[in-house]
């Protein structure tokens, strides 16, 4: 590209969403008192526009890295942006009825959601650590706020607080890691960090090869802490159960699906693009974290009676599953993570979305007895939820199974058979707590009056889409796999 003439096309998707956020705010501001701004519709419009932009770019026009290689529009970024936008669209579809029933119906919600999406999109497309950090913070700040939006529940504010304190605490570690890497390499660009680390001696800061390695490892370790926190890997996971439980359920859905996807998007890209030469060091560490995460996440979920909290722990466990494939990055491991995130996002949107959709007058279905006999009262919803739970368990025919298979086959391919074994055994454990929900829905009689909300059109659509995605990925995952492969291969191809 010619210097001076800035090619901003790769930024269009994010810009569309950001613009939508601003418009939502303005619409809110200009709506007369008592009126209701069409915030959800506007958000949808912005997100759809962003998605269209992603598709247009992906179809060949405007791919590449721009702004001196600080941000990329490679297949990887586009894959994630498409995924994140889809997640956001479904989350927006789920939101109105839930917000109405919980009295959280405010314009800021959608604006924050859109800003969070902007942050997520930046996180997966940034080729540079400053951008990564800022994008991460945009996402985090918006989500901190969203977590605390439900004023009728003490849990919501507590969630925001806990998420915020631990989040900013871990951000500092991440930042220190960035500082160390910058100090070692003199740059924040992912590719240039990789170059310096590869050539080794070029750094004036490194006194010796050993010192360089030590610094690099410190930086890597601190980055690992930061991203470990964002993806909710044990032992950095402890915010997740509380934040997931306390946050408004639609926000939880966004956190479980979107934040996790974006965090993994950044995690994988940074470690793969900037630190490939240290893979021999950090991959074993990731493997250990993965094992611990799978075990603790699943055991934690096993002990829960609150369904949201159970799904929160389960999302911890799934971070562990995802991390098993990180040891096989680049290549099949990355593909597997990308593929799994798609099905995982659909499942979590569906799962939390189902709880959100049932919420009436601020009362959410939170316990197993709340779900008793759901299959007789909401047969379709129960069926959809069953599909999600089956997919979470990793039983065919569902995207969850294919995804898990993909992940574990990547891990085995990298020589980590033990990871696959632990993963499968933990899947068995997980079957127990997932199945309990199915039991409640199908094998217990409903108790008392039907106090659940009828399923609205938007939520119904979102749940239906999620269900279809999960099932299609279980039978015909080919296309998504192909995209994932293209995306995984594109990392580092554009500088």
């Amino acid at each position: 590209m010619t210097p001076g003439a800035l090619d901003l096309r790769p930024l269009f998707p994010a810009m569309a969403v950001a613009l939508a956020g601003v418009v939502v705010l303005l619409a809110q501001a200009f709506t007369p008192k008592g009126g209701r701004a069409p915030a959800a519709a506007l958000s949808l419009a912005g997100l759809v526009a962003g998605l269209v932009a992603v598709i247009v770019i992906a179809s060949g026009r405007g791919r590449g890295a721009v702004l001196a290689g600080s941000v990329a529009a490679d297949e990887y970024a586009l894959f994630f942006q498409g995924l994140i936008l889809s997640i956001a669209i479904l989350a927006v579809l789920l939101s109105p009825s839930y917000l109405r029933e919980t009295g959280t119906d405010r314009g800021e919600y959608y604006a924050l959601l859109l800003f969070a999406v902007v942050g997520m999109m930046g996180l997966v497309s940034a080729l540079e650590l400053v951008a990564v950090f800022v994008a991460l913070e945009i996402m985090s700040v918006a989500v901190y706020a969203m977590a605390g939006l439900r004023r009728d529940r003490e849990e919501s504010q507590e969630a925001a607080l806990k998420y915020f304190i631990t989040g900013s605490f871990s951000s500092a570690f991440l930042l220190y890691g960035i500082a160390v890497l910058y100090g070692l390499t003199g740059t924040t660009s992912l590719t240039r960090i990789a170059d310096v680390l590869r050539s080794g001696a070029a750094s004036p800061v490194a006194g010796s090869a050993g010192a360089a390695t030590a610094l690099a490892l410190v930086g890597t370790g601190l980055l690992l802490v930061g991203f470990g926190f964002k993806v909710a890997s044990v032992p950095f996971h402890m915010w997740a159960p509380d934040a997931y439980e306390g946050a408004p359920t639609t926000v939880t859905a966004l956190m479980a699906a979107g934040v996790k996807a974006a965090a993994f998007g950044g995690f994988v890209r940074i470690f793969q693009q900037a630190l490939p030469d240290l893979a021999a060091q950090w991959q074993p560490a990731v493997a250990v974290l993965a094992v611990v995460t799978m075990v603790v996440g699943n055991l934690g979920a096993l002990a829960q009676s609150n369904l949201k909290r159970m799904l929160a722990y389960s999302s911890v466990a799934h971070a562990g599953y995802l991390m098993t494939a990180l040891v096989a990055a680049p290549g099949r491991g990355t593909e597997a993570i990308l593929f799994y995130l798609v099905t995982y996002a659909a499942v979590n949107l569906g799962g939390f979305g189902a709880f959100a959709a049932l919420t009436r007058s601020g009362r959410e279905p939170l316990t197993l007895s709340d779900m008793a006999g759901l299959s007789t009262r909401r047969p379709l919803l129960a069926a959809a939820l069953t599909v999600f739970l089956v997919s979470l368990t990793g039983v065919p025919v569902s995207g969850g199974f294919v995804g898990k298979f993909y992940l574990f086959s990547a891990a085995v391919g990298a020589g980590y058979v033990s990871l696959a074994i632990v993963g499968m055994l933990m899947s068995v454990v997980s079957a127990y707590y997932y199945l309990r929900v199915v039991i409640a829905m199908y094998m217990r009689e409903p108790e008392g009056e039907d106090t659940w909300s009828p399923i609205g059109a938007g939520a119904g659509l979102a749940l239906a889409v999620s269900t279809v995605v999960v099932l299609v990925l279980g039978v015909y995952p080919g296309p998504v796999m192909d995209w994932a492969r293209m995306a995984a291969r594109s990392i580092g191809s554009i500088v």
């Binding site: 721009v66 800021e108 800022v134 004036p204």
Partner: protein, 169 residues
């Protein structure tokens, strides 16, 4: 910019001041005192920045941190009329000891790596506002710079949404 002994003395003095402020901050039960101690540290750090040849950042530090952020903290402290932490007998002693040990361990680990590193000082270092601004507004950081606008907007909206009183619209 040449380095003189005076320079060095100032550097260590402000360094000590910063560290001292920090220690006071974490050892104070009263958050207000802590805030003042933090301000001391921040100002001292600003001086350190200047001594390390970064006048622009040093100024920014005073303006943004000491000037804006800490004022905000103090404002909130006043607003909520925060009292000192109540003293609880033997509260979390083990907890604190573990934290101290872990903190020391962390410092040792990172420190060992830092100590092994060479620390040259590149010549011809120009970190004037002009030079920094040139880089800041180059395409390389344009994206991040623009992103910060969204960040601030998001935090604004978030703060409003959270802190606004019930029923207020």
């Amino acid at each position: 910019m040449t380095l003189t002994l005076f320079h060095a003395i100032l550097f260590y003095a402000f360094g000590g001041l910063a560290l001292g402020g920090a220690l006071v901050m974490v050892s104070q039960r009263n958050p207000t005192y802590s805030a003042f101690a933090l301000i001391v540290t921040l100002v001292a750090l600003s001086a350190e920045f200047g001594l390390l040849g970064s006048p622009f950042i040093a100024a920014l530090q005073i303006v943004v941190y000491a000037g804006a952020i800490m004022v905000l903290f103090l404002f909130v402290l006043m607003l909520l009329s925060v009292k000192a932490e109540a003293r609880v007998e033997g509260e979390g002693r083990v907890f604190k000891l573990v934290a101290l040990a872990l903190g020391a361990l962390l410092a040792a680990e990172v420190g060992s790596a830092l100590l092994a590193a060479k620390t040259p000082m590149a010549g011809g270092f120009d970190a004037s506002a002009r030079a920094v601004a040139r880089l800041l507004f180059s395409p390389q950081y344009l994206y991040v710079f623009e992103a910060t606008s969204i960040l601030i907007l998001a935090s604004l909206v978030g703060a409003v949404a959270l802190a606004r009183r019930e029923g207020g619209r």
